[in-house]
């Protein structure tokens, strides 16, 4: 059964290995000069000297100046996001759907192997392969990007850091969980729908939906958010009229953290009447400036600090793996029930 699984899966395996090799070579070759820039920047010892913010900023600007690096960084993240999706569509969806569509199940399920064992070996073996190959992709790309990720975490507010939604599932171990999930999703869609192309379509749509739902509704609450209030600086202040007061917000930056909720307060009173006339903000006139300063305006932030990166990765990986197992359970139920 193991040998049969490999034989039927050969083409997809070679494609994956070729892609992995291409990525590995590209990123291996470009890493050394990135490392050099990083060690030259002195960020490694910045915490002792307390100048992380400026060193990180200058390092990142230096990297950005080179045309290739930002592109490679983006490509790396996109690849790691895409690999689970592709696995779901091309490994998962055809697994059972193909057998049903081509009606070869009438051959496969009348040998001396029970349907349960047939499915268990296929899902187990290919699921593990999916996780392994995605893990390797993520390993290479995360390792390549680690100087940049470290810089972003330590101090630079200019760059999105690895905690943020756009990047979170592009590095680390979470892609492994997503690979298992996408594979199981594809296999289940194939088992329920019975045709390969519709199953591929359903898989990609649901996977994309999950990638949108996770950062917006689930990840913020995986660990109870940290809260803090920060003062709104005059230079960053913004307001909108609410009733007869003003809702004042500003810009917030916490190094390496993911701020997913910023709420300002509504202020009322005489100072507000003055500010309403300040069309260029608190810095328009000295009167505006003092009116603003008298408010001691603050914002409430809900965020996940940088230190929670690995715990969040672990929890999300566990959730996706649990989803994968649940989907696999549906697969087994469907295969055993539908046709006897």
């Amino acid at each position: 059964m193991i040998r049969l699984t490999w034989r039927q899966f050969r083409t997809q395996a070679w494609v994956a290995i070729a892609a992995l090799a291409a990525i590995a070579i590209t990123f291996l070759v470009t890493r050394p000069s990135l490392s050099n820039m990083y060690s030259a920047s002195g960020i490694a010892a910045c915490q002792a000297r307390n100048d992380c913010g400026s060193l990180a900023a200058s390092f990142i600007n230096q990297v950005r100046a080179d045309a290739a690096y930002p592109v490679l960084y983006a490509v790396g993240v996109i690849v790691v996001f895409l690999v689970p999706a592709i696995i779901g569509m091309f490994w998962g969806a055809p697994l059972i759907a193909r057998e049903l569509e081509d009606r070869t199940y009438r051959l496969a399920w009348t040998q001396s192997v029970t349907r349960t064992r047939w499915l268990a070996v296929k899902l187990g073996l290919l699921g593990l392969a999916a996780m392994a190959i995605t893990g390797l992709f993520s390993l290479i790309i995360t390792w390549w990007a680690s100087p940049l990720d470290r810089a972003a975490t330590l101090g630079s507010p200019i760059l999105a850091n690895r905690m943020m939604p756009l990047l979170f599932a592009g590095h680390g171990i979470v892609p492994i969980g997503y690979a298992a999930f996408a594979f199981a999703l594809g296999a289940t869609a194939g088992a329920l729908i019975g045709r390969t192309v519709p199953a591929m379509a359903v898989t990609i749509v649901i996977f994309a939906a999950v990638q949108l739902i996770m950062p917006n509704f689930v990840r913020p609450h995986l660990i109870p958010a940290a809260h803090t209030t920060v003062a709104v600086s005059a230079g960053d202040a913004n307001w909108v009229a609410v009733g007869n007061g003003l809702l004042i917000t500003g810009k917030a930056a916490i190094p390496g953290a993911w701020i997913f909720s910023e709420s300002g307060h509504v202020y009322t009173g005489p100072a507000i009447q003055i500010l309403k006339t300040c069309y260029n903000g608190p810095t328009s006139t000295p009167a505006c400036g003092s009116a603003f300063a008298s408010l001691h305006a603050q914002m409430l932030l809900a965020y996940q600090p940088a230190s929670r990166y690995w715990p969040l990765q672990a929890y999300e990986t566990a959730i996706t793996l649990a989803l994968a197992l649940a989907l696999a359970g549906i697969c087994f139920w469907k295969i055993r029930r539908r046709l006897g």
Partner: protein, 298 residues
């Protein structure tokens, strides 16, 4: 007492609101080549799929070789199946399919598989998708035979083959039966194929079994009676009319009976297997109720 290879009791299978098979009660004895005949859509594929565990019954029971179908590896190993329009993996070669057989069947006889493949002139390196219909059927038969089953089930194995390929397939099948005393159940909508090879017949029409038994017993118990025009109701109790036709002066009946016919008014002739099957098929369609006028109406 001969043991049954397939035993069903009140077996039925329904899809949404239509019954593909109902009230099916059979005891198919071992050591026979059993023909399952009936028109397309009668339920033959349904019955065979139930026997190999690809479908689950809606009601009733079925036991194959004394066990629930596909209940475990040992039972699966004992039953070989050749499905309709035999399925093959188009992109895998003939040799790959034989390897598949070896990997998935502990009882695999590689020597037999190689021998038959060579005998039939199948190129091991050819992709199964480019085989002709006859070659594909032969490959499926090799896969089913080389696992050394005690029971072989074939669903319309020769329906889409040309006459030569058909004869070759049946020859290969009968050789395997002669070598190993295999029990075989094969379905077809063509009676001619079955006459040569079957010694037990099941007629399935419109999802119900109409008649089942050893071919020699069936032929011995059915007769064609022709004579002057007569109402079939006047026949003695032991003679059941399966098919009737009348002209203004003549009546021809196909009857089933346990005793010889003594009435001198009848000319009694034996019935061929094909006529027997056709009679049961038309009985099932209710055409017996009609009395078509044949010949010249004066």
């Amino acid at each position: 007492m001969v043991s049954a290879v397939i035993e069903t009791s009140g077996l039925g299978k329904a899809y949404r609101r239509t019954w593909a098979l109902r009230d099916c009660t059979l005891a198919i004895p071992e050591g026979h080549v059993v023909g399952l005949v009936g028109p397309n859509g009668a339920g033959k594929t349904t019955l065979l799929s139930l026997a190999v565990g690809l479908l689950a019954p809606t009601c009733g029971t079925i036991e194959v070789l004394g066990e629930h179908p596909a209940v475990g590896p040992a039972q699966l190993a004992q039953v070989g199946f050749v499905a309709q329009d035999p399925p093959v993996y188009a992109r895998m070669t003939v040799a790959d399919h034989l390897r598949l057989g070896a990997w998935l069947n502990p009882g695999w006889d590689g020597e037999l598989a190689r021998q038959r493949t060579g005998q039939l002139g199948l190129d091991p390196r050819q992709r199964a998708g480019s085989l002709s219909g006859g070659q594909r059927a032969q490959l499926a038969l090799i896969l089913a035979l080389a696992k050394r089953p005690g029971l072989l089930i074939l669903d319309e194995p020769v329906a889409s083959l040309d006459p030569l390929a058909r004869r070759e397939f049946l020859r290969g099948l009968m050789e395997a039966v002669a070598e190993r005393g295999l029990s075989v159940v094969l379905s077809s909508h063509l009676v001619g194929d079955l006459e040569r090879v079957c010694d037990y017949l099941i007629v399935l029409v419109a999802s119900r079994v109409r008649v089942a038994g050893e071919v020699s017993a069936l032929l011995a118990s059915h007769r064609r009676l022709s004579g002057p025009r007569r109402d079939p109701a006047t026949l003695p109790a032991g003679q059941e009319v399966i098919e009737e036709s009348h002209t203004d002066k003549q009546t021809v009946l196909l009857i089933r009976t346990g005793e010889p016919v003594h009435d001198p008014a009848w000319t009694v002739t034996p019935v061929s297997l094909e006529d027997l099957v056709l009679a049961y098929m038309s009985q099932a369609n209710g055409t017996r109720a009609r009395r078509p006028q044949l010949g010249v109406v004066s």
